[in-house]
Amino acid sequence: MKTSFKVAAFCLIVLGLVMGAALLPESAQAKDKFAIGWSNAGMGDSWRQFLVANFKAECAKHPEISEYFIMNADEKPEKQMADIESLLVKGIDALIVYPTVGDAIIPAIERTVAEGIPVIVFGGTINTDKMTCLVQQDLIALGGDGAKWLAEKLGGKGKIVMLSGIAGNTTAEDRLAGARKVFKEYPGIEILDHQYCDWSPPKARSIMEAMIQAFPQIDGIWADSGLMSWPALQALKEAGRPLCPTTGDQLNGYAKFLVANNALGYIAPMTTKLSGEAVKAAVALLKGEKVPKTLVIKFDGIGPDHVKDVAKPDLSDWWWVGDDQMPAEFLPKL
């Protein structure tokens, strides 16, 4: 038993070292002028992998970027503060931030700006006007786009349920607010229920199963992500109920399900291309170009007629369709 414990402990230590090495910031050397640092909130899912892929692909388009560093905060604000300090020590020329908890990292952001280093934030809002540029997708409009499609598809009349991500999370609340605003314009649309599903497919599935029991008729599902609308559709199929029109995002599993089951769906993409847009803004700022304080990027939704064009039946359910428009060398590896 002593020997087996030593072997187990040795394996753990080796794995820990490998993990630590994997967590070191990535960097790429080239010959040019700017070093860009990106403090990323976390890397825990495939969406974040595409965020990184789009970042790297965009960096590759700019020969003026001599090197970049990516730090992963593992969703911890205190780690993100430390990551930003580490990036400053590396002598970066611009800082890109995808915030964990926006307001918690304000001191680090303001310190960076005070040192004359532009700070570009994307993927969340921070309550300070000291950052140089905020690159964002209009999430309220995004939620509204899906809602408008659904309302129009139902002819302005019908009973729907709404499924959101994490309660209190900006990206969930903004999209929900946008959707509710649109549905108010359609008095014939009745919202039977709204639940937060934490962007968890198993949770969404059990919540939808309960909704199916509670409501004999569900004409449509508004969801801010395919992570919920996909299992919701599965629950409907299991229950032998008609597959009503749904909204979601650009998750391949959702798109594949829609195509395979001839179901109507609208993809309102919560795009990972924002990281690339942040890189563009950083380069423009470093070149001395004028960049608006807030840069709102609009990405078009994908209606049911085009879902089959973007769905990738041979790829992972966790591929993010439409976000893969980059050279193959940057795509997340299968």
């Binding site: 992998q49 639940q195 937060y196 497919p201 198993p202 059990s206 309960a210 992972s316 299968l334």
Partner: protein, 325 residues
């Protein structure tokens, strides 16, 4: 008489269950929403089986005492789920060998947790939290965030199908519940587990290999968690990095609700099963009457605090009496 003894010892639990079932009847009368509809019961049964199996494993670890806890359950489940999808890859012929692989993986996780706790005296909270984080990192490195593979039809049939109108998963759960109950109540290991949970030092002095008993508890928990990971793949028809999220907390909550003492040495499979039933009843009823998820958390949290208070008050009274003496 044995049945009456069991009911009398767990009368609090049965009262709570009866109250909830009565609430379900009242809700049906007032709102027309029927908890007892077959289709709803089938849905609840599947969730019950998954949480039930996890909770039985977690309860065995808690009963072993010494602050026994397994916070790596969620990541164990998620990793086993990804292993299942990746290596089965939609092929029924690979179901059984890959199932064995996933269970071997769960055994290894339990072994590492158990060795850390027993041989290195790492507090279970720290040991299992750490192993869970390592698992998460390894899974991310392996999948790069993109779990591959496909769940085969035979596993989907186990996860979603029924035999004689009863969900197939229920038969798996029943097998495990009966096995665990026999293990705890009718075997030497079960007697030793409770003895160690009550007082490991006294158990050791009485010739019980306490470390081995605790190690086996963690292995059982690891194996059951990985089994749930595979079954979840069948139920959801997909693999997901985070499919196990929440199971470590929910299984702990169900065990506590079911009368398992956090100080060890007390608890039963039967109590855990009722604890799981209570949790799922509360959640399902709340959803059926559109109670927002935040309020559901309040209700569940309140129930857990009450259960802890009821379970532990005798221990606390004994401790306070000792201090005043």
């Amino acid at each position: 008489m044995d049945a009456m003894k069991i009911i009398s010892r767990n009368k609090g639990l049965y009262l709570a269950l009866a109250a909830l079932l009565l609430t379900a009847v009242v809700i049906n009368i007032v709102t027309g929403v029927n908890f007892f509809k077959i289709s709803n019961l089938l849905n609840v049964t599947r969730s019950f089986c998954l949480l039930g199996i996890t909770s039985i494993g977690h309860a065995i670890v808690i009963i072993s005492g010494g602050g026994g806890l397994d916070l790596s359950i969620a990541d164990n489940i998620s990793t086993a789920n990804v292993i299942a999808a990746t290596y089965m890859n939609g092929n029924d012929a690979l179901f059984f060998p890959v199932l064995l692989l996933a269970l071997a993986f769960g055994t290894m996780v339990g072994l590492i947790n158990g060795l850390l706790v027993t041989k290195r005296n790492v507090p279970p909270f720290i040991a299992t939290l750490g192993s869970g984080i390592v698992l998460r990192g390894l899974r991310l490195m392996w999948t790069k965030g993109l779990p591959q593979g496909k769940i085969p039809p035979v596993l989907i049939e186990i996860g979603n199908g029924s035999t004689f109108g009863i969900p197939n998963m229920f038969f798996v759960f029943l097998l495990i519940a009966v096995f665990a109950s026999v293990l705890l109540n009718s075997t030497g290991y079960g007697r030793r587990l409770y003895a160690v949970g009550n007082n490991a030092d006294v158990a050791t002095l009485n010739g019980i290999k306490s470390h081995r008993v605790v190690l086996i508890a963690y292995i059982i928990c690891g194996v059951l968690a990985s089994l749930v990971g595979v079954l979840l793949g069948g139920y959801m028809g997909m693999s997901d990095q985070k499919i196990g999220e929440g199971y470590h907390f929910n299984s702990l909550a169900a065990a506590v609700l079911g009368g398992v003492s956090m100080t060890g040495g007390k608890g039963s499979v039967h109590g855990v099963v009722i604890g799981v039933l209570i949790m799922l009843l509360v959640t399902n009823l709340a959803l059926l009457i559109h109670v927002p998820i935040q309020s559901q958390m309040l209700i569940l949290g309140g129930l857990i605090i009450l259960a802890l208070w009821f379970n532990e008050r005798k221990n606390l009274n004994r401790i306070w009496a000792g201090k005043e003496g």
